[in-house]
Amino acid sequence: MTATAGQVGLTGPPPTDPGRRPRRKGRAPRSARSREANRAGLLLISPTLLIVTVAVVLPILWAVALAFQRVRLINVRGTGVIGEYTLANFTNVLTSPGSFGALGTTVVYSVCGTALAIGIGLIAALALRTPFRGRGAIRAALLLPYIAPVVAATFVWSTMLNPQFGVVNWFGTEVLGWEAPIAFLSQRSLPVSVLGMQVEIPIALVTVILFEAWRSFPFAFLFLTARLAAVPDVLDEAARIDGATPTQRFRHILLPQLLPTIAVLSVLRFIWTFNNFDDIYLLTGGGAGTEVVAVRVFDYLTARGDIGAASAQALLLAAVLAVLVTLYLKLFGRQEESS
């Protein structure tokens, strides 16, 4: 559900609590008023908490249990929490062909997708910084790729890239003089000669990365536009008077102001791209060298009906993600300190 992106990320730090009192000794609130607040709070939060517990927390705990059991879809009806626990699923998942390849693909896909999306978003935000007639409409129009349903977006892309009747291949063969149409979404690699050297381009992977960039740059654009609006004009003005050129003003005035936002964006986009299933499944079905871990989980679950392996693979995905994000936060935190 990456479409949810918009909200949480952008709402910033939680508000300070107006009802907060200095902590007293002991846990239980003492006065009648705070006892009442405690009761009312628990009462009001309980429906949400119940739903989240039943539909998210318990299933995830169960998924952990399933990952350590040999469960297949055929014998699923008899499965409970208590069963024979084994590490077989993890060894199966890790030793099956293409396991580390999928992880590598996921990392490449997320890193490149995130970087491109943020890069394009930054360019868009800068290009639309100074007001002009129709800027509001253009800004709104640029958000379309992000709000459009993923199924419709992927369908249009695959039609545009279709080798038989897609407009891209028509343009390529008729106008650009390609020798043959390119199967962007089903061809693993495309030999291209650059400066006389033969280079194999992983064309399907590149295409899904470009799709990801197209689809999520508006998110970065929105974020950075909001942050740009908050940069005081005075700074820029002062630098201009001091004779700083536009690139210098960007490098030394704007960029330092934008960096924390870019850092937050990187984490958010990376997490969402890393977990992404829809885009790749709908574009290539995970074929032609684009199999990411999320698609593998889905295949284990539906094509092979191997629930244990699917859970194990999904757990590995979550674990790798957690490690990478922690690593990033550590590195980034240190950078902040030193600068």
């Binding site: 879809l73 379309l144 993923v150 419709a152 942050r227 210098q248």
Partner: protein, 310 residues
């Protein structure tokens, strides 16, 4: 920046040469960006909008005309073929693709998700923003964690659970899953708005003898209404666009398919012409785009609220 600027200022005082070079570079860059800016804006617009234009264009063409002339980016008015929309909307019994039924399902699921989510998260977010209760911090942390969980990890046990309960193919089951997925987001956005409602107002009502629920309903909720509406629109969009859970839980029952699922399933078969499905894509996308532009101010406001804190 200070070092560069200072260097330039001091050197500018002593040697006019450096100043002139700086001035030239400045003029060059300013001129360059003046030219580049509109180019970039036009390029971005093209890249962002061309696929949607292509979608609409193809939805009005027959497959034959597409195969004959795949490069046409413009069609004359008498080439417009509305048969695609007829085909895609008509029920299966009448030889169509049954998108009207899909639309009904999507609408039911999306509206159901909005109603149920707001019903539980309005009191929930009020509690998180206003009331100091036992475990509040942990609850907030839990919701945040839920938000970043890979949905595919959740998909496995839910798939198994729904299979066991025989709930696969049920729209109600899907709504429950959606509510649990968006509840965290909803609480996160709503509580920020509740926090902006002056405490004094609530205290005044409390002194007048209003109960907690009355305060929430009569004072806080009306004041947070813009946030509630934009939040509802967002939840609607998420539920309407969602694909993974719809695929896992509904795929065996065609009469329960949502528009997203229907489009993805039919696009895999060669029997349905691409242009008919393009009409389906337009039908899937249009409600979201209309909603977005109708409420754009509200939505982008909600999107960026607090973003300036970085």
């Amino acid at each position: 920046m200070s070092s560069t600027a200072n260097a330039r200022r001091t050197s500018g005082g002593t040697s006019g040469d450096a100043t002139r070079r700086g001035f030239n570079r400045d003029r060059f860059e300013t001129g360059l960006f003046r030219v580049l800016r509109p180019v970039v804006v036009v390029l971005l617009l093209l890249v962002a909008l061309l696929p949607f234009y292509y979608m609409i264009l193809l939805s009005f063409r027959s497959l034959d005309s597409l195969l004959q002339n795949p490069g046409a980016l413009w069609i004359s008015i008498d080439e417009v073929d509305l048969g695609t929309y007829r085909d895609v909307l008509a029920p299966v019994a009448a030889g169509g693709q049954g998108f009207v039924a899909f639309l009904r399902n999507s609408l039911l699921v999306a509206l159901g998700t909005v109603a149920m989510t707001l019903l539980v998260t309005i009191p929930g977010s009020y509690a998180v923003s206003r009331l100091q209760f036992f475990g509040r911090r942990q609850v907030s942390g839990l919701f945040l964690a839920v938000y970043f969980f890979p949905s595919v990890l959740l998909a496995v046990p839910l798939f198994v659970l729904f299979t066991q309960l025989g709930l696969r193919g049920s729209l109600v089951g899907l709504v429950l899953v959606y509510v649990s997925q968006v509840a965290a987001v909803s609480i996160y956005t709503l509580r920020n708005y509740f926090a902006t409602v002056p405490v004094a107002l609530e205290e005044a009502a409390s002194i007048d003898g209003a109960s907690r629920l009355q305060i929430l309903r009569r004072i806080s909720l009306p004041l947070a209404m813009p946030a509630v509406v934009s939040n509802g629109l967002f939840i609607f969009m998420i539920a309407w666009n969602e694909f993974l859970f719809a695929l896992l839980l509904l795929v065996e029952r065609r009469d329960a398919w949502t528009v997203s699922l229907g489009l993805s399933q039919l696009s895999g078969s060669i029997e349905v012409p691409t242009t008919v499905l393009m009409a389906g894509s337009v039908i899937l996308t249009l409600p979201i785009v209309v909603l977005f532009f109708a409420a754009e101010r509200l939505l982008t406001g909600g999107l960026t609220a607090g973003a300036e804190k970085g």
